[in-house]
């Protein structure tokens, strides 16, 4: 095999950067399972028979309702994603399929949300949620995240719908199928591959967000996992076992999902950039 020295240098560079990118995360994961003494004496060592402990996790489970926070995050993320994809696909379909007055204008109106962060409207959003009695509910978060995610989702789904062959819908129209059924029975099933792309851009920011949970749902057992970890660590700063364990609990699900679906996520990201 013919290996050029240039290529070896490239691999060394990439491996070094990969270590830099993963090192800190691995460090947290391995130390979460070690005794306090071992965390300080040998931070780089893997936990072994002598140093292994789950005391941090026991303390986290005893003092914080991480199961509940996790469930809250899951609910908010999944409901938001389903609504964004469904409502976004309907709008994207209307904007790409039909010519009607105001089409371009509505497209531009929706595009504002891609560039202008909804966070800047927080003062009014909080006022509204207080009036609607939605403070400390997951509904408040879902409504805001759907509004936040729609513009980009409509853009991505619109590009995807354009690629669906025209024959399909024209054939259905000749058979007298209603526009609603064309969308729900033909188009919607066909755009499922685009959901991965939409998911990269909507699910991750929603799952990781701190701002809106902090403002709209900071208590009453409605905390998301990100806020829950933030509040927990604020209280247990000096308890290294508990801090490391709570970080591990927050990292683990994302890590597992990412490694399972990374191929789709990475493909979605690069595909979205091509345009």
């Amino acid at each position: 095999m013919n290996v050029r020295p240039g290529r070896i240098a490239v691999h060394i560079g990439l491996i070094l950067y990969t270590i830099l990118a993963l090192g800190p995360i691995v460090l947290i994961l391995i130390n979460a399972f070690k005794t306090r003494r071992a965390i300080f004496a040998d931070p780089l060592g893997l936990p072994n028979g002598q140093t292994f402990t789950s005391i941090g996790f026991d303390r986290v489970f005893a003092n914080a309702d991480f199961g509940l926070y996790f469930f809250n995050s899951l609910t908010v993320t999944i409901v938001s994603l389903v609504l964004i994809v469904l409502i976004g696909a309907m709008a994207a379909w209307a904007l790409t399929e039909y010519k009607f007055p105001g089409n371009t204008l509505i497209g531009l109106y929706l595009a504002i949300g891609i560039m202008v962060p909804i966070r800047l409207g927080s003062v009014s959003i909080l006022r509204m949620m207080v009036e609607l009695n939605l403070v400390n509910t997951l509904t408040a978060l879902i409504l805001v995240y759907v509004a936040q995610g729609l513009p980009l989702a409509i853009l991505i789904l619109g590009e995807f719908i354009q690629q669906i062959p025209k024959d399909l819908r024209d054939a259905a129209r000749c058979d007298g199928v209603s526009e609603y059924r064309i969308f729900f029975s033909i188009i919607l099933p066909l755009i499922s591959p685009a959901i991965a792309t939409v998911a990269v851009f909507t699910m991750v920011p929603v799952w990781n967000d701190l701002w809106f949970p902090l403002i709209l749902a900071p208590g009453d057992g409605k905390q998301t996992i990100t806020l829950g970890v933030q509040q927990f660590i604020g209280q247990y700063v000096t308890d290294w076992n508990a801090v490391l364990a709570s970080l591990t609990l927050a990292i683990a699900p994302v890590l597992v999902l990412y490694l399972l679906f990374s191929r789709y996520l990475v493909r979605g990201l690069t595909a979205g950039a091509v345009k």
Binding site: T18, L120, A147, L150, V229, V254, Y258
Partner: protein, 320 residues
């Protein structure tokens, strides 16, 4: 069947039918427009409106024109913090532009080398930190840089740089740089991916032609690849800009709402939060908060307009 209804409708009232908005289009558009307008556009407009009001202790609001902005930019109690946050935010952005996008470009160049073994593994792993919550990342680095744990100094000692270590997050002179670099570390995957995708889009013929004409690897990069990915670099820049001027989570997780030490890591996002919710002895003010948010909105709009009219128009998009 379809034919029949169409002709009968046309005969009955041809003009009104053409003017009437088709019901099914309205049905498809209505949910998205309703939620988006109610929870995104309306709050933004209402925030701008609120920034022109002042509230008192009883909660009554009165119209005060641009007085809040005069306070923000002129009152010594406010303007110092505002300009400090804006300056820090500009530094935060500059570090991202140079370091994050520079490393992203470098990694993308390496990853786009033809027939690179393990390319997708590198991409997946280097992108991983981007997927994690900024809050988690903040805490991870806080632990690693904590002098108590001592892992950072001992690692530095191992490579002979032990004397460089200091309580970087705690010193006024280094805190902002450290926080910025933590953010860079997390988000380097985004420019890497976007630039990588753009580089892949350049046809091989073009690169081969340049090589045949005698261009070395450096010339190929500088005169062929770089000009072709300029539009992507523009997109990366504006994404970085909007994200940076909207940042909050990382500073809040590491330094709290006070963005210490002595406000040296204060950026517009944390300044907005403190103004809105109050801190220590100061009571939060929704109307001043709205004024800060409006100022941020204006800054972001200026950036977006510079990009749209100054940068994007000049960059020719190449399609193959």
């Amino acid at each position: 069947m379809t034919d029949l209804t169409a002709t009968s409708v046309q005969r009955a009232d041809a003009v009104p039918v053409r003017a009437r908005f088709p019901v099914h289009i309205a049905v498809f558009l209505a949910p998205a427009l309703a939620i988006y307008t109610l929870f995104s556009i309306y709050p933004l407009i209402d925030t701008i409106r609120l920034s022109l009001y002042a509230g008192d202790e009883t909660g009554a609001r009165s119209f005060v024109g641009f007085q809040n902005f005069q306070t923000l930019l002129g009152d010594p109690n406010w303007s110092g913090h505002f300009w400090n946050a804006l300056r820090n935010n500009l530094i935060f952005f500059a570090i991202h532009m140079v370091v994050q996008n520079g490393i992203g470009l470098g990694l993308a160049m390496l990853l786009s080398l033809p027939r690179l073994a393990g390319g997708s593994v590198y991409r997946t792993l280097i992108f991983l930190p981007t997927m994690l919550s900024v809050v988690i990342i903040g805490f991870i680095w806080q632990l690693i840089l904590n002098p108590l744990w001592g892992i950072a100094p001992s690692l530095l000692k191992a490579v002979g740089l032990g004397s460089l270590f200091g309580p970087w997050l705690g010193q006024e002179s280094t805190a902002l740089l450290t926080v910025s670099l933590i953010s860079v570390w997390q988000f380097v995957g985004i420019p890497m991916m976007l630039i990588y995708a753009a580089l892949l889009n350049i046809p091989d013929d073009l690169l081969d032609a340049a090589t045949v004409d005698g261009a070395g690897p450096f010339s190929v990069f500088w005169f062929v690849r770089l000009p072709l990915i300029l539009p992507t670099l523009g997109v990366v820049s504006i994404l970085t800009f909007v994200a940076n001027f909207n940042a909050f989570d990382l500073i809040y997780a590491i330094k709290g709402a006070l963005a210490g030490p002595n406000f040296s890591t204060d950026i517009l996002g944390t300044f907005f939060y403190r103004t809105f919710f109050g801190f220590q002895l100061q009571v939060g003010s929704p109307t001043m908060g709205a004024a800060v948010a409006t100022a941020m909105l204006i800054i972001i709009l200026i950036g977006v307009l510079i990009y749209l009219f100054g940068v994007q128009r000049r960059l020719q998009r190449h399609t193959f």
